[in-house]
Symmetry: C5
Subunit: 92 residues, 5 copies
C-alpha cells in the first residue's frame, strides 16, 4: 500500500456501467522517492479532499470493494490518523 | 487507475487471434511525477484521440472487457468530463 | 520481494472493517536504485521499528496473511538476520 | 501493454522444465518516459529481432500462452504494423 | 521477466513458516534503464552468486515454485547461457 493525499474528485460521465455510483478520487503519493505520483482510486469510506489515506492496488482493490467483477485496480482502505505524520517527508 | 490522454491508434495485423476486433490506443499519462509514460490500452467505450481517460491495469482490465481469457493488461474504463481539469498539472 | 527498513507505525482509525487488528508499518526500500521508496505493509511476524525486512507484494501478500479476502497488497514475510548486510548499499 | 522493440534472443539452457521449447526475446521499451527499459518476454507469434511489438504483462501473459501454469509474466501479443510510427518518439 | 545478476544470499531466520527451506537471493537488474534495481527472489534451480538469471514476478513466481499458497512474488526461472551477453549494456 502507499500513503497518499486526496487532491480532488475525478468525474467521468461516459464510463463502464459497473462503475456507476462509485466515487473516484485523484490522490498524490506522499513521502519517499515516489512522492508526487498521482493516481485515480475508488473510495467507499468517505474520504475527503485533503485527507491522507492508505491506498491498496491490484486485485486487493477489488477485495476492498467486495466485488471481484469491477474493473478497478486501486482503492482507499483507510484514512490515516491526524496525529500520524512521520511518513510525509520526501526522501532526504 | 491513471489519468491519461489518448495519443493515437496502434495497428497490429499480426497478433493474437483473441485480440481480433479489439481497438488498441496509445495513451500518455497526464499529471504528476509519471506524466509522459506511454502505454497501449484496449478501448471498448469509443474513446477518441485527444480524449482524457481513466485507465485500469492488470486483471482489472480483463474485468472491463468481460473476458478473463484475453491477453490484455490495460483498458480504458471512463472518459474524464471536459470540465474536470485539476489533475493535468505536472508535479511542481 | 524487496529489502526494506521499518520506519514507523501507520495508524488509521477509519479503515476497512476487515483490517481491524492488523498492524501496519511504514517501510523504506534499502539498497539499489529504488532505495528511498516508501510503502505501507501489513506485519504479522512482530517486526519492530529499525528492523530490516523482506516485503512481498500483490496477491502474495494475501498468502502471507492466509486470508484471500483482505484488501492488502504488501506484507512483511521475514526479518533479515543482523549479520546479513551486503544488500544495503545504494547503487554505485 | 507497452510498445517495445525486439533487441535479441535470450538463451537459457538451465531453466524451468515447463519453459522448454518456449522462445524468449529481449525487448526494449519504445517511446515516452519509460523508453530504454528492457525486459525478457515470451514469443509465440514469431517476432524477429528489429520488430516493434506490443507486450502484455502479469497474468495476462499466461492468457497469451494459453497455459496458466507456466512461470511467465510477459509475452508479445502483436507485431505493430510498419506504417504505424507515431508512438516512437521519446518524451519531449 | 527481467535479466539480473545474483549478488548475494539473503538470510532470514524469523520468517513465514511456509518459507522454511526456500533459498532467497539478492539480485540486481542488468541492462537498460532499470539497471541497478535490487530485489529478493526465490531460487529452486541452484543459481549461484555471479550467475546471470531470468526473474519472473507476481503470481507467475508461485507457478515456478509449484505452490500457489506461498507468499513469494519473484523467482528465478532460468540461468542465462554464458555466451549470451547482448543484454548487459546500460541504456546509451
Amino acid at each position: 500500500m502507499l500513503t497518499a493525499k486526496v487532491i480532488d474528485h475525478i468525474w467521468s460521465t461516459r464510463k463502464a456501467e459497473s462503475l456507476n455510483g462509485l466515487k473516484f478520487m485523484l490522490v498524490e503519493v506522499m513521502g519517499g522517492k515516489d512522492a508526487g505520483k498521482r493516481m485515480v482510486v475508488a473510495d467507499i469510506i468517505s474520504a475527503g479532499v485533503g485527507d491522507r489515506v492508505i491506498v491498496t492496488f491490484g486485485s486487493a482493490a477489488r477485495r476492498m470493494l467486495r466485488n471481484d467483477e469491477i474493473p478497478v485496480d486501486a482503492a482507499i482502505v483507510g484514512i490515516i490518523d491526524e496525529d500520524c505524520t512521520g511518513f510525509e517527508t520526501r526522501e532526504a
